[in-house]
Structure formats: structure tokens, C-alpha cells
């Protein structure tokens, strides 16, 4: 990092004050009177990933509480972060992944949870009751967890492509590969392939990973923004780097698709339910989070979206449901212990590191 030569000529204005200023202007221009705030209106704004909620979950919640949930979708954590950092545009519940929970806590963007209003938290597996990225789970509860691995079309691939080599360092499947378009994940997994930690911050190692990807770009068809499973399902590519549940969703419709966690290891992630600061309906948000942690609801939800639930008692419910046994015994959802050992959690490593990764990404794209 270069020394900063510039001399401040202007008092530091934080981006938040900046936006408070413009926001104030917008508020002044709002001619409509504000509604009474005594009781929360029966509304909730949910900001979620695509294909990440049960078919009837939101309706069930409305039936039970009368609260109407309006759901918006985001494609990656950076998009979520970008939408919220200038001030909350009105979301009540968001679903960031573990490292972004940490980043948002450090940026003061999250509201502490009132665990008194989330009694269903007691149903959680022990290992989800605390987390390094959110000590004491003050700001977040786990929604779903899983891995990033390789989804592939069995009939077009020889054997099981159980190495990142096939995506990063080989022309065996030239032109039939899609990687994610999340810079941190793509570069991190290249680091993993090279034998380093996913969370390696060494400049030279990141350069090495970037060079590896640039060298293999001729074999990569595209960097898919959260739609790799569609590319796989439509036959556009035969190998994708994807979140396990996304691949599982298309596996349900196509027997020719499978999922594997490569032998070099991969990341294990948790997507978490959080309430961003400035949420207009915090009471409803707590009720919604508690509802999603209800064993029966969590069971229906997880079984539909094919992601692993952290709610221990939900698994008992799932066992009795149709297709539940397949879900529980599916190694792509609940990896066996020897795979779990190879998994690593991604960490928030500071803004300097984020910028380095981003610059490497631009170079990869431009090369």
C-alpha cells in the first residue's frame, strides 16, 4: 500500500452522513404523512437469495401471523452489501453468508437480535449455537449451511471429477466449464487447489492463483452469476462450480447430474438470518426468524430447497416426510465426516485484502 500523500482539505464526511443528507432531502420531499408507529403494520420485507425459500413457507407465515412478506432477491453477498451500506432501503430480514455477517457486524450494519423473541433457537444443533464470526450469536442465526463443490453431467464426464484440477488446471473439459462469479470464492478455491488455505492473504499466493485462472481462461466458458445450475441443466456446460443446494435442485429433475466436493477440500458456509439496522418492522422480523427456526417449518423449507438445516429437531420431522430419508442420507447435503474434515470456513480478512482480491479479479477478467 502506498503512503497517502494527499492532505485533507475537507472535513471527513462519512458515507453514511452523506446519505443521511440526501436521505433527509428525500424525506423532506415526501409529502405523504407518516403512518402511526405505535403498532407495526402487518408487513415484512425479506431480502433473500433466489430459489432459497420453501414453496409455501411465506404463505404459511401469513396464515399464522397475518404478516405479508415481500421478498426481493439478490445474487451475491457483495450485491447485498452494496444495497445496504448506504443505509437500509427498508429490509427487515437479510441472509448474508458467514464472512459477510462478520463484515457487516464490523461495519455496524446489523441490529442485535433479541433472543427472548426467538425461542426456537433452542432447537439448533450445538455447533450452530455459537460462531467465531459472531460470538454468542448476538446478530445472526444460521438459516442453512452447505458447501461449494463441482456439479457435473455424468454422461459427459469420465468418472467423478473429484479435483479442482478439472476446473482450474486442465483442458480435459475445455469450453464446458463455468466458474462462479464471486471473486473471493473463485480465487480462494484456486488457492485451495494450489495447496494453500482458502483464507491465505499472502500477496504472492494470490498472484499465483490469479495466474492459474488466467492460464485456464481459454477453457472456461463463463463466470456464472448464481445461475451455474441452469447452465448445467440446459447442457450449456458439463461442469460447474456451485453451491451444493443449487446443484441438488436441478439433480431432482435430471438424474444425469451429480455433485462432488473435490479432494483438495472446499469451503463450508453458513447463510444467516439477520436484521439490518433501520429495519422498519423489527418485531415482525423477530417473529419471522423464529418461524423459520420452527422445526416443522424448517423441515418443510429445507426439504424443498435441498439445503442442510441447522435445526436439529427438524431432522426428526424430515425423517417422517416423503423423500426425507433420501435428503438425510444424501452426502451432497450432509457431507460424511471425512469430507467435513477437508472443509474450511471463509473468513472476513479486512478491506485491504478485499481490494487485492478485487484487483486480481479485474485483471483476470481483462486478461
Amino acid at each position: 500500500m502506498r503512503a497517502r500523500r494527499s492532505r485533507p482539505f475537507h472535513a471527513a464526511v462519512s458515507r453514511r452522513r452523506f446519505l443521511a443528507l440526501t436521505g433527509g432531502l428525500a424525506a423532506a420531499l415526501r409529502f405523504l404523512p407518516q403512518g402511526a408507529q405505535a403498532e407495526e403494520e402487518k408487513k415484512l420485507n425479506f431480502f433473500n437469495w433466489d430459489t432459497y425459500i420453501g414453496e409455501t413457507t411465506l404463505d404459511d407465515f401469513r396464515r399464522k401471523t397475518g404478516i405479508v412478506v415481500k421478498m426481493d432477491l439478490f445474487a451475491d453477498n457483495d450485491e447485498l452489501m452494496a444495497k445496504l451500506k448506504g443505509g437500509n432501503p427498508g429490509y427487515d430480514v437479510i441472509v448474508p453468508s458467514n464472512d459477510y455477517v462478520e463484515r457487516m457486524i464490523k461495519a455496524g450494519m446489523l441490529m442485535p437480535l433479541d433472543h427472548g423473541k426467538i425461542p426456537n433457537f433452542r432447537h439448533f444443533e450445538e455447533r450452530f449455537k455459537d460462531a467465531a464470526f459472531d460470538p454468542g450469536r448476538k446478530y445472526s442465526v444460521t438459516y442453512m449451511w452447505g458447501t461449494v463443490g463441482i456439479g457435473y453431467r455424468k454422461s459427459k464426464v469420465k468418472g467423478v471429477p473429484d479435483s479442482w484440477k478439472y476446473l482450474y488446471d486442465s483442458d480435459t473439459y475445455a469450453g464446458r466449464i463455468a466458474l462462479l462469479s464471486e471473486p473471493g470464492t473463485v480465487i480462494g478455491l484456486a488457492l485451495k487447489y494450489l495447496g494453500y488455505s482458502f483464507n491465505d492473504t499472502d500477496h504472492a499466493h494470490i498472484e499465483e492463483a490469479a495466474r492459474l485462472i488466467i492460464r485456464n481462461k481459454k477453457n472456461i466458458k463463463t463466470f456464472a452469476p448464481d445461475n451455474g445450475q441452469d447452465l448445467l441443466a440446459s447442457g450449456e456446460v458439463d461442469l460447474v462450480q456451485e453451491w451444493n443446494g443449487d446443484v441438488l435442485q436441478v439433480m431432482e429433475e435430471d438424474d444425469d447430474i451429480a455433485y462432488v466436493v473435490p479432494k483438495e477440500g472446499a469451503i463450508i458456509w453458513q447463510d444467516c438470518l439477520c436484521i439490518p439496522k433501520g429495519a422498519p418492522h423489527p418485531e415482525n422480523a423477530h417473529a419471522f426468524i423464529n418461524f423459520l427456526c420452527d422445526p416443522k417449518i424448517a423441515a418443510q423449507n429445507a426439504l424443498f430447497i435441498q439445503y442442510a438445516t441447522p435445526v436439529a429437531t427438524a431432522k426428526e420431522v424430515i425423517r417422517t416426510m416423503e423423500g426425507g430419508k433420501d435428503y438425510l442420507s444424501n452426502p451432497a447435503i450432509f457431507p460424511p465426516p471425512e469430507v467435513m474434515q477437508r472443509l474450511e470456513e471463509s473468513k472476513y480478512l479486512g478491506e485491504e485484502h478485499a481490494r487485492r482480491i478485487q484487483e486480481a479479479w479485474t485483471r483476470i477478467q481483462a486478461a
Binding site: S6, P8, I220, A354, T362
Partner: protein, 297 residues
């Protein structure tokens, strides 16, 4: 020109809402972004306006210059294609009978009624490996028994490459090229064409020496209406482009989203805007030359 002096009250009553809108919702926010381009990131969320020029200097890194060069190249190709494809279309519309003309114009405007995102996704369904173009080609291939000669059908890779990006941008901006050129051709004094024919000029010669020079201002407008927005496109390269698709718009979008670096994104945006102003400055020159040609007739 005099009317606003004679009726100042009417002028202000009509003009104020627009001026207010322009200042509050365009110039003020733009001013904030401009200030931000002289700032630095402090921590995760905060920005300090320090007057630094580092963001602008960073933009002259070879990586970004390379992407900028590529953006200009793609935009020029797109503009050329839009003019070459759009001019005959505009010509046909302008010379068709009034009743037909209305329908043809409607057909040109029809795509505007559908969201650009949806049109772009539709292109994916058309172009992908198992898309409609490849299905049709495969069917023809089988029909002509070409598989006996060349082996089984190999689908054409039409998606996730530069072809797809250029096609996608042309597809979206073609109407913007057709409309101003249509307006120029429609205004053309038909008696000049008749005179040329009377004097024995071939149709081709007439077109080259009369129609084309007289509609130059329409072509100039079309060039600007296509080239400038094409420079800033980011959605189409993101959806249709492959691993080499990054245009400068993608870099800017990435600074505001993924990179969480608004000051640098702001600086890049303003550099792109200055470049656009420079191009706009060229337009009066083109039009003046066109006007001179008209005056000389």
C-alpha cells in the same frame, strides 16, 4: 426566442418543475458522486473526501486502459453495424405508403415495450447450445444428410463470447439508430431525387450524391444515440459474455457492488462522462458539415 422575455411568468411557471427536477434529482446527486471521486475509503462503510487524485491515477493502470480500449472497439463495431443495418430499414420505412409506414414504425418501437432484461434473456434461449438456432441448424443438418459426410452435428458456440455481446448490444440499440435516420430521410425533399433522375443519374449515383449527404445529420444523431449508451453497457456483457466480456461498465458496476469501492467507481464514471462530452463536442462539427452540403445544393 423573444417569447420568454415577453411572458416571463408563463416561462417560469412552465419551466420551474423541470429545472427543479434537474437540479434536485440529477445535478445534486451527480455532484455528490463527483465529490466522492476525490475521496478515499476509510474502513468498510465510510468515505473521507480528501481531495486525492489517486482514484483518477489508478484508472490509468494498463488493466483499465485495456478494458477501455476494448469497450471503445466493441462500441464502434456495434455503431457501424447499427448504421449499416438500420439505414436500409429507415429508408424502406420512409418511402413506404403512409398506412404501411405507421405499422412499420410501430414494429420498430414494439421492442421498447418489453424490458431489456427480458429481451436479453430471450436471446440466451435462442443462442445457447441447446437453443433454437442450434435446433434449427441440427434439423437442417439432418435433413440434408450432412451427418453421413461430416459426422454428427456440432452445435455452434454462439453464447458467452464476443459475438453474443455485439449481437446483444446491436439488438437493443438498433431502434435508436433507425428512428433518427428515418426522420432525416422522411424530411428529404423528394423533388431533388426526381430532378436527379430527370438529369440521368443512376439510382445508385443519386443515393450516393444526394440522399446520403442530405441525411447526414440523421446518421450523426444515430451514431451518437448508439455509441454513447453502448460505451456504458454492462448488463449485456455480463449476461451474454464469456470470461473475456468485461467492458468498462462492468468495472464501474463492480466498484459499486462487489469491490465496495465507491470513490474509484465514481472516478471511473466521471472519466467515461468526460469522454462522452468530448464525443458530443464532435457532433456540431458533423452537423455543420451536413448543413454546408445542404446549403451548396
Amino acid at each position: 426566442m423573444e417569447s420568454w422575455r415577453r411572458h416571463p411568468l408563463v416561462f417560469w411557471a412552465m419551466g420551474l418543475p423541470g429545472i427543479f427536477w434537474l437540479i434536485v434529482f440529477f445535478l445534486v446527486p451527480l455532484g455528490f458522486v463527483w465529490l466522492m471521486s476525490f475521496g478515499e475509503k476509510r474502513g468498510i462503510v465510510d468515505i473521507a473526501i480528501t481531495g486525492t487524485l489517486e482514484n483518477y491515477l489508478r484508472a490509468f493502470d494498463p488493466v483499465y486502459l485495456g478494458i477501455l480500449f476494448k469497450t471503445v472497439r466493441i462500441s464502434l463495431i456495434v455503431t457501424l453495424l447499427c448504421i449499416v443495418i438500420g439505414y436500409p430499414v429507415a429508408y424502406v420505412i420512409a418511402f413506404s405508403p403512409p398506412k404501411v409506414r405507421t405499422w412499420l414504425l410501430l414494429a420498430i418501437m414494439l421492442p421498447f415495450w418489453i424490458n431489456m432484461l427480458i429481451r436479453t434473456y430471450a436471446l440466451i434461449a435462442v443462442f445457447r447450445t441447446r437453443g433454437y438456432v442450434n435446433f434449427t441448424l441440427e434439423w437442417l443438418y439432418g435433413l440434408l444428410r450432412l451427418d453421413a459426410l461430416f459426422g454428427p452435428f456440432q452445435p455452434l458456440p454462439m453464447l458467452y463470447n464476443e459475438f453474443a455481446v455485439i449481437f446483444g448490444i446491436v439488438y437493443v440499440f438498433l431502434p435508436f439508430a433507425v428512428l433518427p435516420m428515418y426522420a432525416a430521410i422522411e424530411r428529404l425533399d423528394r423533388s431533388l431525387l426526381e430532378a436527379a433522375a430527370d438529369l440521368g443519374a443512376s439510382r445508385f449515383h443519386t443515393f450516393l450524391t444526394i440522399t446520403l449527404p442530405l441525411t447526414r445529420s440523421g446518421i450523426a444523431s444515430a451514431v451518437l444515440l448508439v455509441f454513447i449508451p453502448a460505451l456504458g453497457s454492462f448488463l449485456i456483457p455480463e449476461l451474454l459474455g464469456g470470461p473475456n466480456a468485461y467492458m468498462i461498465g462492468n468495472v464501474i458496476a463492480a466498484q459499486f457492488k462487489k469491490a465496495n469501492d465507491w470513490p474509484f467507481g465514481a472516478a471511473l464514471s466521471f472519466l467515461l462522462m468526460y469522454a462522452t462530452f468530448a464525443i458530443l463536442a464532435v457532433r456540431p462539427l458533423l452537423v455543420r458539415r451536413a448543413a454546408k452540403g445542404e446549403g451548396a445544393r
